[in-house]
């Protein structure tokens, strides 16, 4: 095999590797918030939910070909906030289990692409 042939193969492989789509961005929109006076919000920076309450959000990551990437979410402390999938594709639920603060990791194709601070607070007392 000639050195010239090997060089062509290597160049082609490099080009193909360079053309693989990369992570581009994550779109996030709040779904269902709990009723007042319970806390429930989701943004690119923070998830806030009361103990015993649920807030949902649609979270989808896209590559630079504008295709959805295989997404995943995990809580660093599932005793404070549990993250679970919803039967509606792309939707996730954040369940407040006990007061505290932790982080939610958003993964796309298995790679960490976003970290959300998660805060769980006590419910306000009932009148």
């Amino acid at each position: 095999m000639s050195a010239r042939y090997l060089a062509v193969v290597a160049a082609t492989a490099a080009l193909l590797a360079g053309c693989a789509p990369d992570y581009d961005h994550t779109e996030l929109s709040i779904g269902k918030a709990p009723p007042k006076p319970l806390a429930g919000s989701v943004s690119y920076a923070r998830v806030h939910v009361s103990v015993g309450a649920v807030v949902t959000a649609r979270i989808v990551s896209y590559d630079d070909d504008h295709k959805e990437m295989a997404a995943g979410l995990r809580s660093k402390d599932p005793d404070i906030v549990e993250v679970t999938g919803v039967v509606n594709p792309g939707d996730y639920a954040f369940l407040g289990l006990r007061p505290g603060q932790t982080e939610i990791e958003v993964l796309a194709d298995g790679h960490l692409v976003l970290i959300l601070t998660a805060v769980v607070t006590e419910q306000p007392p009932l009148p």
Partner: protein
Amino acid sequence: MISLTTRTPLLALVTLAAAALATGCSLNDSGYKPGELGNGGFYFSCDDAVACSRYSNDASKFPEAVSVGSTFAVRFVPKTNSGLDIHFNESAVDRGITVGPISEVYVSRGAKGLAAVKTGYATLASRDATGALVDYVVVRIAKPDALVVYSADDTTTSTPAHVDSISLSASAGDRHSYRAFAQQNKSDLAGSLQIEWTSSDAAVATVESTTDGKATVVAKSAGTATLMATGGTFTQSIPITVSQ
């Protein structure tokens, strides 16, 4: 880690008629509360007709609030994926869907079903066999500020008269039965509330039995006494007058 997967959506809500046939209860269209995610409906039930007479078996409506200290059950009926898809013998449990509190702070699982343990808002979630959230409903757990005592002797009416005082005849050997349910701000609270019934003077009147939350008061001798019903951290006193 939770992975994003495609699941077949659960579709149109099983009709009330189907639910009624499946459970043996008669329901109406207002009997369920739609889940917050729109994937089905929740039914409320108590397993006795005592403290929660208005919500016995499958309730005619989902209650506004449940009394702290009470037990109850919530059933989920999912939507199906072919429009009005009636499965007479298919329950949510058959589909691997379970209902329970997301945390045990406000509602816990007990031997008698769900138990309201702390005032506040509890979220009851239905999950499929994989643990994914199908839907949820929020229930307010309230502290009673009154117990309403009513006659349990007349089972023909769904709205028995409230009892403010009791008159019995000792010579006739009178015995009357009573039940109670909780209220807050004059609104009924649902849930099977464990009521403790006592008489202040057993020589005048005794509480003979308290089966299924129903107390039977028996006249013993002429005089006055007080029937006390205690439940949900609240005590209701009813004066008893026994004539000869």
